[in-house]
């Protein structure tokens, strides 16, 4: 019961913040609201017995990615009139986007509620996870079953670093 109440409150916060991200004129405000969305999502992860993911979310997303966003916004020195000030050149874009979005949501809802959600149950029940420890388990799996994606992800990050540096330099 407590869980249910908690979920509803956190859910509401998440939705409101997401709406604000989309409909705020000032990009800095959008960024702040996005940070808040991510924090509430981290709470939800904890509710779902995934503390490691929650910690990673806050560290990576809210800590690194959003900081990067804020830096860039400040670097470009945009004010709210610069971009979003003028009238939208495309007439029906906003209306049709919202309409389509509603349709999409309805469809997702229908799918979710109609289908019988089944899947093969795995072997890591919450109790067994608690025995080993969530983080430890994640680490163990990363280095045994999923070692190949792990290594490739490191190469990916390496490429991303190089790419970002090259693209943003003034002079090579």
């Amino acid at each position: 019961m407590l869980e249910g109440l908690l979920f509803i409150i956190i859910g509401l916060i998440t939705i409101v913040c997401a709406l604000c991200v989309v409909f705020q004129k000032n990009p800095i405000y959008s960024a702040i609201f996005l940070i808040q969305t991510m924090v509430s999502l981290a709470v939800l992860y904890v509710l779902l017995h995934a503390p490691f993911i929650a910690a990673a979310q806050i560290m990576i997303y809210a800590g690194a990615v959003m900081v990067l966003f804020v830096f860039v916004i400040m670097l470009l020195n945009l004010s709210k009139e610069d971009v979003e000030g003028g009238k939208d050149k495309l007439m029906f874009q906003k209306a049709s986007a919202i309409l389509l979005g509603l349709i999409l949501f309805v469809v997702i809802g229908v799918v979710t509620l109609k289908t019988v959600l089944l899947g093969t149950k795995g072997e890591y029940t919450p109790e067994s996870i608690n025995e080993i420890g969530n983080t430890q388990l994640v680490g163990k799996l990363l280095f045994t079953d999923y070692v190949l994606p792990f290594e490739i992800a490191s190469i990916l990050l390496f490429a991303a670093i190089l790419g970002a540096i090259v693209l943003a330099k003034k002079k090579l």
């Binding site: 050149k89 495309l90 874009q93 049709s96 986007a97 389509l100 349709i103 999409l104 469809v107 229908v110 799918v111």
Partner: protein, 647 residues
């Protein structure tokens, strides 16, 4: 070793066709580089050899008994489509035999004549090519063993007629005349084609032997089918043989060289219609109505054309109308059932009409191109041989015994009187009177009386060279003795042609069986015919030798009548106004409105439509990323919804 003598000459029948064709191909392809004499030799030799082969075939044909005188030789299947079978085959029987002898014989003489007449012409090789090609087509026409092959020959002679009439194509009137001949022929050919189709639908075959054997059992006398077939066939004959109403091309065809007029428009091509009617006599005798139509048109044309010939002043025009008239006689004969008599007149007409044309060619040649009779006169002294042969020809056509024309024309009148009725005889007799009159008018105006020639023409007038006179002499000889082929009561030609005519018909008009008439009637008819001819000669003598001013006075008195007759009853003008001009106007309409506006508009419209559609579709490519993203989302939503609904 095969015995050559055992091979029947009948098997050589193909060579009758191949020699003229080879001559045409050789002269056509390399004639330009050969000398004129070589071209002439090739052209004449081709026909000469064909004539020799025809004689050999004739000898072998006579060896067969009369009932079995039918030799067919098939070469290859030309069209085999479903149940329609058209074979390239030749048929030798008495009728085709007579025709190929006439065509190759008279043709050979005319080829020799052309050596002299066309000597100074530039397109010498072209002339002989066309002439050989024409002979080939004509021979194919008469030797074919089925309707479709005959039609090929039919079209071929029409084509060569066009080429030869328009031989001097730089002259506008000549090329116009050529086109006129071809187009008017086409009208007749249309009827012929319909007849062939109708025959195939009725009999499921187009082979002569099969059709004529099947006809008496298959069709009732006077039924609609056989009447339609024969009427349509006759339409073709009317076009090709220049009868009313499709005769207007023949007088204009005189624009061609004179030997061409002699060969094509006197002796051979125009008789193709008569040949066709006689070939299909089995069908015609089953349709009494068609026979009456044939007789009426034949008789009316004979009289009508004769009256026009009265007032013409161009020597060749008179002869042209005379040809139309004489062919009318042939059709008159066929129409009353005397098919063999029609062929007999065809043969004698070939002799004396070719003679008359060649003689007039000799006159024109010696006068340096003058064709108006009012500018001739007194040529008897200058051109003695031409005059004598021409006189023989004129006597023959007028019907004076014992020349050829007498026997054939008299027999026609006899048949018209006994088998037809008095009206037919009257038409023929009156036309005979006028024929004799205008032919002797021509003779007197050209050769007798005082000379009306231009001074410088008169200085150069000379007798023609021997290669032009020799054919004249030979034809004159034939015009004298040719009549005895059909000497009454012992008619060789009638009995020769009997197997082809009237086989198996019991209850229709009598076929070619020799009609027994009383001797009294025969001799009295002979006397009347001769009398009529003599009256005509006397009238002409009276008006052109005795009282030369009389014609002018008569013209003055009957100004309007003369005007109408002189202008050929304005038939050409009537055709022009009622048929030609509306056709031109409607084609103009079809061009300007239907083709340019409707059809082009439709095609262009399709293009415009595509253009408009693409203008609309172009609007989707805005260049804005957000629009593209929106359409991506739209697509995704649609796919999900569809997947949901159908899974």
């Amino acid at each position: 070793m095969p015995n050559i003598l055992e091979t029947s000459f009948l098997d050589l029948i193909a060579y009758v066709l191949l020699f003229p064709l080879a001559g045409a191909i050789i002269n056509g392809l390399i004639g330009k580089r050969l000398s004129k004499s070589l071209v002439g030799i090739i052209g004449c030799a081709a026909i000469g050899l064909a004539f020799l082969v025809s004689i050999l075939v004739f000898i072998d044909l006579l060896k067969l008994s009369p009932e079995h005188r039918l030799f067919e030789k098939e070469f290859f299947t030309w069209i085999g489509s479903g149940s329609f079978l058209a074979i390239a085959g030749l048929q030798v029987d008495p009728l085709s035999m007579v025709m190929i002898l006439v065509v190759t014989g008279v043709g050979f003489l005319i080829h020799v004549y052309s050596l002299g007449y066309m000597h100074d012409d530039e397109g010498f090789y072209r002339y002989f090519t066309y002439l050989n090609l024409f002979t080939f087509s004509m021979l194919l026409l008469v030797l074919a063993n089925n309707f479709l092959l005959m039609f090929i020959g039919w079209e071929g002679v029409g084509l060569c007629s066009y080429l030869l009439i328009g031989y001097w194509f730089e002259k506008k009137s000549a090329s116009a005349a050529g086109m006129k001949a071809f187009i008017v022929n086409r009208v007749g050919d249309f009827g012929f084609i319909l007849a062939i189709m109708l025959i195939f639908v009725t009999f499921n075959t187009i082979d002569f032997t099969e059709v004529f054997n099947a006809a008496p059992e298959h069709l009732q006398v006077g039924s609609l089918v056989v009447t339609m077939i024969t009427l349509l066939l006759f339409v073709g004959a009317v076009g090709k043989s220049a009868q009313i109403p499709l005769y207007t091309w023949l007088p204009d065809a005189m624009e061609g060289p004179t030997p061409v007029s002699a060969l094509i428009h006197a002796a051979t091509m125009v008789t193709a219609g008569v040949y066709m009617v006689v070939r299909c006599n089995v069908l015609f005798t089953l349709a009494p109505f068609s026979l009456t139509v044939v007789a009426i048109i034949g008789g009316a044309t004979a009289l009508f054309a004769a009256t026009i010939g009265l007032a013409q002043n161009d020597i060749k025009r008179v002869l042209a109308y005379s040809t139309v008239s004489q062919i009318g006689y042939m059709f008159l004969a066929c129409g009353v059932g005397g098919f063999a008599t029609g062929i007999f007149h065809l043969v004698t007409h070939a002799f004396f009409k070719a003679l008359l044309f060649l003689g007039s060619g000799s006159v024109i040649h010696s006068l340096g191109g003058e064709q108006d009779m009012r500018k001739m006169g007194g040529l008897r002294r200058h051109l003695p041989i031409t005059y004598k042969t021409f006189l023989i020809g004129t006597l023959a056509i007028a019907g004076i015994p014992p020349f050829a024309g007498f026997f054939s024309k008299d027999e026609i009148l006899l048949e018209a009187f006994t088998r037809g009725n008095l009206i037919f005889w009257g038409l023929g007799a009156f036309a005979a009177l006028i024929t004799s009159f205008y032919m002797f008018r021509l003779l007197f105006m050209t050769f007798h009386g005082k000379s009306n020639m231009d001074k410088h023409v008169e200085e150069h007038v000379h007798e023609s060279p021997i290669n032009m006179l020799l054919p004249l002499i030979i034809l004159a000889f034939l015009s004298v003795v040719g009549g005895f082929l059909g000497f009454p009561a012992a008619s060789a030609i009638n009995s020769f042609l009997a197997p082809v005519i009237g086989s198996g018909v019991h209850h229709a008009v009598d076929g070619g069986e020799v009609h027994h008439v009383s001797n009294n009637l025969m001799f009295s008819m002979m006397g009347i015919s001769t009398g009529i001819a003599l009256v005509g000669i006397f009238l002409a003598y009276f008006m052109y030798i005795k009282n030369p001013d009389l014609p002018a006075k008569i013209v003055g008195k009957f100004k309007l009548v003369y005007k109408i007759v002189y202008n050929k009853y304005y038939v050409d003008e009537i055709y022009d106004a009622t048929i030609v001009k509306p056709t031109i106007k409607s084609s103009f309409f079809l061009w300007r409105v239907v083709d340019a506006k409707v059809i082009d508009g439709f095609v262009n419209g399709v293009g415009r439509l595509v253009e408009l559609k693409s203008e609309v579709l172009k609007l989707f490519q805005t260049g804005y990323v957000r629009n593209y993203a929106l359409s991506m989302l739209l697509g995704g939503v649609i796919i999900i919804v569809c997947a949901l609904m159908f899974l």
